[in-house]
């Protein structure tokens, strides 16, 4: 049961991160803020799993990292979507939407 939730969480995080980077390269903190803003009140996501997910996605070559300068001129690690990541996002997004629709369908109208 625990691992299921973890997998769900991992999958969720991955797709959130990929979506966050869809708009362009961001550093880790920006991704965190993006996720927080978009999901506040719904998902309680800590930063530790988020960073783990970032590095995991880098290892899977869905995103690539590069050092750059932040808005306030500090060295920050920027992530950008790779071709693999873009394809992964498309695929996962479709799967998520289908999943959500199915669950909504089962639960029926409010």
């Amino acid at each position: 049961m625990d691992t299921d939730r973890l997998n769900l969480l991992q999958g969720t995080l991955d797709v959130l991160i990929l979506q966050a980077l869809h708009g362009g390269p961001l550093h880790g903190y920006a991704v965190s803020r993006w996720v927080r803003e978009r999901t506040r009140g719904t998902l309680q996501i800590e930063d530790a799993p988020l960073y783990k997910a970032l590095h995991r996605l880098e290892h899977a070559r869905c995103i690539a990292a590069e050092w750059g300068l932040s808005e306030n001129n500090r060295r920050a690690r920027y992530y950008r979507l790779t071709g693999t990541g873009r394809r992964r996002l498309r695929r996962d997004a479709v799967a998520w939407r289908r999943y959500a629709t199915a669950v909504a369908h089962v639960l029926g109208p409010k």
Partner: protein, 896 residues
Amino acid sequence: MRRIFQFRWRSPTHIREDVDAEVRFHLDARVEELIAGGLPRAAALAEARREFGDLEDARQYMHRIDRRTEWQRRRRNYMWDFQRDVQYAIRRLRSSPGFTAAAILTLALGIGANTAIFSIVNSVLFRPLPFPEPERLYAVYSANRTADLLQAPVSAVDLDDWRAQRQQIEDIGGYFYAEGSTGIDLTGRGDPRRLSVVFFTPGFFSSLRVTPSQGRLPHENEMVRGGRDRVVLLSHRFWTNEFGASAGVAGTTVMLGGSPHDVLGVLPAEMRFPTDLADVFVPYSTIPDSGIPRIRPVRTLSVVARAKPGISREAVQAEMNTIASRLAGQYPEDRAWDAATVLPLHEVVTSAVRRPLLVLLGAVGFVVLLACVNLAGLQLARAVGRGREIGVRIALGARRGRLVRQLLTESLVLSVCGGVVGVFLAILLTPALLALAAGELPRASEVRLDAFVLTFSLLLSVLTGLLFGLVPAWRTASWNVHQMLREGGRGNVAAESGRLRTGLIVAEVALAVILVAGAALMGRSFVALLDVDPGFRATGLIAVQFTINTSKYPPPPAPPAGSPASARVPAPYTRFYTQVIEQVRTLPGVVSAAAVKDPPFRGNGERNGFGIPGRPVPAGQDAPSAATIHVSDGYFRTIGARIVDGREFTPQDRFDAPFVVVVNEAFARQFFPGERAVGHRILRGAPVEIVGVVNDIRQVALAEPARPTMYVHNLQNSRVKTTIVARAQGDPLALAGAIREAIWSIDPQQSITGIFTFDESVSRALARPRLVTVLLLSFGGVGLLLGAVGIYGILAFLVQQRRSEIGVRLALGARPVDVAASFVRRGLVLTVAGVAIGLAGALLLSRYLEAVLYGVRPTDPATFAGVAVMLLVAAALASWLPARRAARVDPAATLR
């Protein structure tokens, strides 16, 4: 992946720092934002930490996964570079097809020859014998230290005692086989035929741990002397050829030697010991006393033993010595045979070919080394040709290691291509080599190109590529960029690699000298072998072999001792034997004809003891012994041997005439030194007179001097094995049919066991030395060619490089001939150095040739001098061609 600049690889420390920096940046940014939102600093810090979660765990995780990411990147990068290098190399190689073809061909020859020889060496020498736990198998010989006979066959009676008294030995057994002479007649299945038979004793198969693939082995009570059981095991080959590999052959009966034998079973295909040629295996116990008497002094058996697990060779040796000395104390006949020799079976099987094969493997190794040096020279020249390109790349920041790798990739692509072609060459070459060895190679049927050999070839290819690629690549990559760009990658580069090139020429010549010296020694040895006087004239001689069936033609009974010669009576054997010879003599086209038991190179006679009147044998010593060969009258005249003294056998030496003997010169020298042997009597049971001395006839091998031999008249001491020898007027083979018909006109049932010409025998006796000679000569030829081409290539390149310099010299008034001479001189100076080093190497190595040489010393000065001259001439020629081109440089054209 887009990669314009190459990033430094991140070390683990580096990764740790990066992760820490990333996390710190996150926390700082968050704290700042929270403070901006109104929180006090301490609370903001705590809140940021809380939001982050398990920081230490995340950090560990990121370290770990980043390290993996880094490795993966490096690997991908490396493969990507490699792929690009290979593509680049192929493109470049295709742009110079001449060089590429020459290089691949050179390598293919080198690697192919190595693969072929190695596959033979591996199968024959390295692979264990095809028996379970073969390292526990030994060959055992009787040893007589006083007579210096350390590897003598074993008496069947002794072997029974050995077997009964063994302790450290799991089992021990013997066999009796002689190629072409141990045979048995098969009848009742079409034409009567002579089968090749191995006679075995109890313990033979159990020592080897061979079990039939069908049927069973004989029980010990079926192998009893005088027993009535007649059993036979079929070899896999005979079973396949004769019985079409039918499943139900065990339990049937075949007629062998006129009596029915029960077929007990079929041996597995891997059972090729002691020979590939065996048709059937029959218990030794079936040989009657009239064939081989079963007494201690008759030593006929080869013996194999299996040590118990964990028992060393020394322990087996000690045990055998104990048993042998015990028997020597017990039985007077064994008095001098108080020891045994124990050798690993594998060593015994391969001993005759070990040295020649290792010599060939060594020589072929030199060929591939020479090919390496050659290609190194070519690669260097090519690299100089692309000096500007490389200079540009170094200037643009290409790192040296990367450049070396790229240049090396080109060499590896070449060498692997060469290796692949080489393996195919080897597949074609190996059967040809085996054919050339013509049955002189033990375990030849086990030779194959297996995974081990292919691995060897692959490793050899890669090693070759590294060897000829590394030095030029390193040299090239370390050139001085500025000068190279300025001079268009010429002058300075050429000067810098000049010493390397000098070294290459010297190495090339030295290697060629070693190869050519080996070939020359072997060639001279072979010529010496061809020059050997075998003691007979082989041309025009034909031989037809058969075995007289003594149940049909009984030999004369042994006369009572002391009875006069005239008391002996003619027997059917006598009549048949005489009739056959007489019949053949009447054939048109036959100049003369006679018979012999063991023709030259087809058996070395029986070993018999004898006495010399007036010379008593000291106690504890064996009587003198010599080989005995049974002949008819007119034998020496027929084969063209020379009677040195006295006379040869005549038709008057009949069965009822006084017994006489002819001896060879070696016999006369050894036993009657300084006096006439003719007229002496020797004791062979009764005294017999020596009536003649014949020149030495080489009986065992061309390279082996004749042993002391007694020739006895076959009618005075009969043997069943008979070879009719006839000298033909024309083509001897044309007589074969007529002789066979002549024999059949007397007895249509008589089976013929073999027909051959003496020329064929001599040629077979030359087969092994010929194989080694042919191979060494071809390696030497390849060596000479590669050496000359290498010198030519390097000097020609030098001339090309110095065109402008030469032009200046010519313009300043140098004579073209002087310019040319300077190049020839340079080539020759280097050659002399190479020859000196090569001769030293050859002198060091040639002693390994000693065992395969005949009639020439491994340090033969004339041969070495000839080799030096040959190399100098080749080098002069190879230098002259480029030098001539130097002399023809047009100063105006180069200076413009």
